[in-house]
Every structure is written in C-alpha cells, then in structure tokens.
Amino acid sequence: MKPDELLEHEDERTVSLALARLRDAYADEQASPVTEERLLNELRRAAHEAAGKRAGLALGARQGSAWRRAVPFALAALLLVACGFVIWLVLYSESATPTQLTPAADLKRVKDVPKTEVAPKAVANEANRASTQQKTASQLTTTASGSRDRRAARRPGTTKALARTGRDAPRLSAGGTSELPAQESVFIPTMVPVGRESDYGLHLVRMELPRKTMMSFGLPVDPRQLSRPVKADLIIGPDGLTRAIRFVAQ
C-alpha cells in the first residue's frame, strides 16, 4: 500500500471512529415522557372530536331523512293552496262581472269627489278670519243636523225657526227675510277632525265671501259674476274655527 493511500485509509478510519463515538454517546437519547403524554392527550382529544363528528353526521342524516319525508306533504299542501286560490279567483271574477261600474255610476262618483276633499289651508284660514269678524254680527245661527236641531230647540232662547236646518230649511238673510237659493253645494270640510268631536257648540253661520273663494274649493264660477260676493254657510266650532263650508249660489 502506498503512503498516500495509507494516509487516506487512516483518515477514513479516524472519521468513522469519531462518528461511532458520537453515535454511541447519543444511542440512548429519547424524547421526554412529557412529550409522549402530550401526544396521548392530543390523540384522545382527536378521537373524541371524531366521535362527536360521527354522531353529528348521524344526527344530520336522521334530520335529512325527516326532511325528505316532509317534502311531499309540503308540496301537496302548496298545490292545494294554489288550486284554492285559482278557484277563488275564478268565482270572484264571475261574481264581479255583473256589477261593474256603469258610466253613470262613474259620473256620480266623480261628482262625489269634492265631498272628500279638504279645503286648502289658506282658504280655511280666510274663512275662519271672516267668520270671526262677522261672528258678532251673527247674521243667522242654527244647527247643522237634525240632532243638532233638537239640541238647539231644547236650548233656551233658541227659536224653532232658527233651529231648522238642512235642505228643506229656508235660508234666512241678514235682514231676516226668507231667500231660497237657486243652488247649494254640499258641505265641504275645511279641516281634518282630530279625534272624536262632540256636536255640542257647533254653529251654522251664513255670511258673504268673495266669489273667488269658490274657486279655491274647485267649484265652477261664472266669470261675469266674479266681482259679486257669494253667500256661504259655515259650520263654526266652539273654538271659533270653521269646520265646513257650503256655498249658496243665487
């Protein structure tokens, strides 16, 4: 063997020997028992979780089968409701056909529209102001309905003639002369009633207003008579505010 080869062989042997010593020194090295205990705990926890998951899956499967059983019943109920709705729709349309509104009824309905209208606030204020100014003059005071008639008749100092109201009641002018109007409008509310209001203390006051006031309530006005005032009946409440207005055209 050559000296170089001998030296190389000896180096190899040195390395092997050194590694063998290191191997022997660490041959018994092991992980601590604490690590094993931790791992066992983790294994138990994982097994517990897996068991819970399996139980949850089984419960979910049972619930799923219950849902599957309920679906046909739900669909049948839905179908039944749909059929009932269609039948009701057909019957309703058949019963509604003969009573369809005629043009005359439509017209009547259109004519009724101003009854439900509420007077503009400015006009109501104007009427209130006028009624307040002329309240002292008190051209005519009477009640607005039959029941009010009875109350007014029972009230001391109220004459029977003054208590008569309505379409059949004669209109009295400021001078006390009877004057039958050529045309009357219906009473138009000028304010929205708040709550349930008592009829007691309502007064019917006739007064003259500018004719353009009629336009504010959507009533037709002859342009040629625009400069002339128009008579109107105002229902005045106990607070002095106008509840409703009716124009008396001559």
Partner: protein
Amino acid sequence: MREVPGSDSELLRAIRSGDEEAFRTIYSRLQGQAFRFALHMTGSRTLAEDAVQETFLALIHKSEGFDAVKGSLAAFVLGIVRNCVLRRLKQEAAFVSVAGSEAEAGDAREPAADSNPLTELGRSETVKRVRDAVLSLPLHYREVVVLCELEEKSYEEAAQSLGCSPGTVRSRLHRARALLLTKLKAIENGPEMLKARSRRCLA
C-alpha cells in the same frame, strides 16, 4: 385484550381511529431515532422535542400521505422530522443564540461510574468536538451524515427520507465525510481555522 394489528398501515389506521395502544407501539419504535435525528440536526434538545411532538401530531392528524409501497414508516417519519427541523431552523436563523445554549445537547450525559475519569473526560471531549464538527456541516451534508452514519440507515432508506436518489445520498455522504475530516483536523488545530474552513465550504 384487543390485538394490535401488525402492519404500519394498519397501525396508522388504528391511530387515526384513536387507538392508544397502536400509538404507543409506533411511538416507542420511532421516537428515539426521530429525536436523535432532530437533536443531531439542531444541536438543541428543546428544538428536538418540539420536532418530535410536531411529527407525531402530524402522524395523528394527517397520516393519509403514507404509502407503504414507497417506503417504510420509519423513513416516512424521518421525512416529517426533517421537514419540521428545516422549518424550525429557518425560523431560528432570525435569532441570535445565547451563550451556553449551544452546549445543552451533549452535556446531559454523565460519565459511567466504572470508567476512568480521565478517559471519560477525553472521550466526552472527543464527542463534543465531533458533534461541533457535524453541526458545522451544511444542512444537506449534515442530514446524510446523521442518517447514514449516526442512525445507520441504508442509502435507500436515507434516500426515502430525504426525497432524493440513493446515488445522491452516496455522493453527498462521501463529500460530507471529507468535509468532516477537514473540520475535525481544524478543530484540533484551533477554532479560528474551523471558522475559516467552514466559510469556504459554505461558499
């Protein structure tokens, strides 16, 4: 008492279903080499413990990746340990080691009672030098030295753990031994020379 199934695949299946006996069987068989591999690779007992724990946790939760056709369970476990160690070393590279912690790996060993104290001292000094030399090797050389020389694995088993061919393991081991010899000589001559040689090897 229930019989523990024998093959590695069956044992792993039993572990997944929560069988503690199967786990103890696997653990007692593999934890030693896993711990020593991690200890030689990191030089730290704490990191080695962590690596072993992480490895067996992976075995509990995600052992579906094991294929008995590709290799043994020991090679599979050592592959997991290697990945854990490399990850931990990458994390630890950001920290500066405190003086004294480096020596924790080998100082736990006590001398045998019946041996000569001088002989034992010399032997422990030698072991320390060799351990320092192994720890100073580059990682891809260090792992083949640990597997083939210290754990006495065959080239095929080491290749299965490292995910490379047996030829690569052989050539790396040859270079690693040469490098180790150089380092051992350098340690004998002085630590300064060891640092210089190490720097050149890493370059």
